[in-house]
Amino acid sequence: MTATAQARAGSGVNVPALVRHYAVLIMLVALFVALSVSTSSFLTLTNLLNILNQNAPLAIIAVAGTLVVICGGFDLSTGAIFSVANVVAAWVALHLNSPVLGLIAAPLAGAALGLVNGAAITRLRIHSFLATLASSLVYGGLAVLITGGFLISVPAGGFTALGRGGIGPVYYAIVILALFALLSGFLLNRTTFGRYVLSVGGNAEAAELSGIRVNRIKLYTFLYSGLAAGIAAAIGVSRIGTGQPQAGDGMQLLAIAAVILGGTSIYGGVGAIWRSVCGVYLLALIDNGFDILNANPFFKDLTTGVVILAAVALSVASRRR
């Protein structure tokens, strides 16, 4: 799209703008209603809590990923960070014989790897797309080396409490996701950090000339993304009770897909946290729907693709005049 077309679109608050803004939410609600009427198994507390719980780790990664994308970056290494953090957690829990230390180790490991990403990107001045592609290979290798290619099984006990337990019927994972999303939304919209993230993503040179430490802001977003992947890994490994070197495979792409599905521009500068979360759960509902409707799985990928296109087309159609 040309800048002029974009510019033309940018003015005033009106119905099309609302549709554009809320396209992903509209699709989510539509799918929700469709599933609710088509099967009685869908609209049950357990099922809804399950959906929320199952996808909470991915959503946590997508939430932080939103900040990275808004800041003009791309983090393709979250899947690999998830893998490392989850084997580190299992390793620590097993060898130091402390479930709690293990679960704390995951976010720390994640943050450390995110920091390495950020440092590589800002110091070497590599574009993050390539840098995190490379680092994801390195981290993936690391995860395998830590485990020697095997799994690290942690004896049950405290270790699985985080992933399987909850407050009443609400899993901890859901609570953590909610807190993390709220915190991130707050960071983005109410703090100087968030403002800097938006401006660095919008125009790095103008931000630099306004006295913002562009590199530091970028670095923080990658650190944050790594931390999120680590938190997600803590939940994931605790749920499974086992550290697996492939645990995070493919997560990074799903997370980025959800972010972009949520309407965050891949060029940075604009975006919203809650829409990424909607993106994650839109994809999740499709999965869940196929399972509970017992639809032919051959059509699942096809349907997912079509739903994504529909969501985007909806948001784009409203942009025309």
């Binding site: 950090f193 403002r195 125009n203 040179e205 430490r213 500068g269």
Partner: protein, 509 residues
């Protein structure tokens, strides 16, 4: 004009364009004749660029008719416009950065056989260069050129299209006087060949001197179209703004006593295109940098502000040597700079007015990193009103603001900080006469309040009329100094064109 009535090239009738809540064009009717230079003037946001873009096929009108060479057009886009011989030089520079000058100039007009390019690009470029005489290197990627040269590329690109109608939207905004004169010659040459030129500019003298007819616009409407010979500058201004405006430059603020310690000093600074510069600015003093395009004024400002590394020499701020210079450190010390390229370097176009204005000052509006949005809004609202930014919405989308209003937003951004040194690089580029006089007023007020100002402008009247002292810049060095009061544009130009440049060391402040 005498002789037979010239044919009409383009007619617009009842043209309306609306962007959200802004009525950019409101039932505009106008006709452009073949072989005329048609001036289009109006204050910032009057709708001049929008009109140009509709004619050039960039925007679709909401209603109204467009007739080109007697044929009503319905589907109209840039491609069709160009095929019909209508070309526009957009106000905002729009070139392909990695392509060379020649490639940009002939983009879309390449000679080819079955899609395979001919090898005659350079020859064609030379032909065109003969007409224009800009002297640009054909093979330089355009992103390596200064803005002014990029603007020349834009002009050449329009000429390369053999257009019958050329809309030039503020083509001289970064050109120096002599280069503008080159362009005016080109316009006359085009007119002789029967080409229609629409000349959008804020330089009313140029309009009066070079146009056959002038159309004045205000608030999306045409106020009047009349032969240029019947217009006066004051009349134009009154028609544009709806009220008469005093166009004299304001009086300089009193110069600080000569023994006042300078707020900023450069001692034989070198680095990049800066080749040995010494200067000083005292509090409350306006120091002008006069030079031709490409002389290195911007580079001097950037070195002072800490954007570009200083290789040797010394920068002092309030008497203390500056080490570890960066824009951030400079801002913390109390400097501010309005860069020359407002879209690329000044504004974050994706973010609203409010966020752009407060960006460098968020520390003031936050506690422990958490923003106090009420305070932010109050402060910005006050400034937006004081500077007359239009639309006056705090959440306005700056990317669609007219050029002059974007410039005002940038002023607001730095005035919020009450800097001790303000560097202004082409502060009135693309700004209408009304806003210009308000900006002059502002500069004077700021200086009177004790801020030192380094003023860079290609409009030598500004430099001559506002500065206390003027440094002459050539080839990255200061070649001399003249006192502001009494300086004349002609005198400055003469010094700048002196054939034999004095040795760089002579440039003592």
């Amino acid at each position: 004009m005498d002789g037979p009535t010239p044919a009409v090239a383009v007619t617009v009738r009842d043209l309306s364009v609306r962007f959200g809540s802004t009525q950019a064009l409101d039932a505009v009717s106008l006709s452009l004749l073949e072989g005329e230079v048609h001036g289009l003037v109006g204050e910032n946001g009057a709708g001049k660029s929008t009109l140009g873009k509709v004619v050039g096929g960039l925007y679709q009108p909401d209603s109204g008719e467009l007739e080109v060479f007697g044929r009503a057009v319905h589907r109209w886009d840039t491609r069709r416009a160009q095929d019909a011989g209508v070309v526009i030089i957009a106000q905002e520079l729009c070139l392909v950065p990695a392509l060379t000058v020649a490639e940009n100039v002939f983009l879309g007009r390449e000679r080819r056989t079955f899609g395979v390019l001919h090898g005659d690009l350079r020859a064609r470029y030379r032909e065109l260069e003969e007409i224009c005489g800009f002297g640009l290197p054909a093979d330089a990627p355009v992103h390596t050129l200064p803005i002014a040269d990029q603007q020349k590329v834009e002009i050449m690109r329009a000429l390369a299209r053999d257009a019958r109608v050329i809309v030039m939207d503020e083509p001289t905004s970064s050109l120096t006087a002599d280069e503008s004169e080159r362009l005016h010659e080109i316009m006359r040459w085009l007119r002789e060949r029967g080409t229609t030129v629409v000349y959008v500019t804020h330089f009313l003298d140029d309009v009066l001197a070079n146009c056959d007819r002038v159309t004045v616009m205000r608030d999306g409407r045409v106020i009047r179209t009349a032969p240029a010979a019947q217009e006066t500058k004051a009349g134009l201004v009154e028609a544009m703004l709806g009220e008469p405006v005093d166009m004299l430059l304001p009086d300089r603020p009193p110069a600080p006593p000569p023994d006042t310690p300078p707020v900023a000093e450069m001692h034989d600074v070198r680095g990049g295109a800066v080749r040995g510069v010494s200067l000083r600015v005292r509090p409350g003093e306006i120091v002008g940098l006069a030079g031709l395009v490409g002389s290195g004024r911007t580079e001097i400002a950037r070195a002072l502000f800490g954007c570009d590394p200083v290789e040797s020499g010394e920068v002092l701020f309030r008497g203390e040597p500056v080490t570890g210079a960066s824009p951030r450190a400079s801002i913390a010390r109390g400097m501010a700079m309005i860069p020359e390229d407002r879209r690329a370097q000044g504004l974050v176009l994706l973010r609203p007015v409010l966020e752009n204005v407060t960006l460098p000052h968020l520390g003031r509006f936050s506690r422990a990193g958490v923003l106090s949005r009420g305070g932010e809004r109050a402060a910005v609202r006050e400034l937006v009103e004081r500077l007359g930014v239009r639309p006056a919405a705090l959440d306005g989308d700056v990317s669609v603001y007219s050029g002059g209003n974007q410039q005002k937003v940038l002023f607001a951004k730095w005035l919020l900080g009450r800097p001790e040194l303000l560097i202004l690089d082409e502060p009135t580029r693309g700004v209408d006469v009304g806003a210009k006089s308000r900006i002059y007023q502002l500069i004077v007020e700021i200086a009177a309040a004790g801020t030192g100002i380094l003023l860079i402008s290609s409009e030598l009247e500004e430099v001559a009329g506002l500065s206390h002292r003027i440094h002459l810049v050539r080839g990255g060095t200061v070649i001399g100094e003249v006192p502001g009061p009494g300086a004349s544009v002609d005198g400055l130009l003469q010094r700048l064109f002196e054939v034999e440049p004095p040795p760089a060391t002579e440039g003592t402040p």
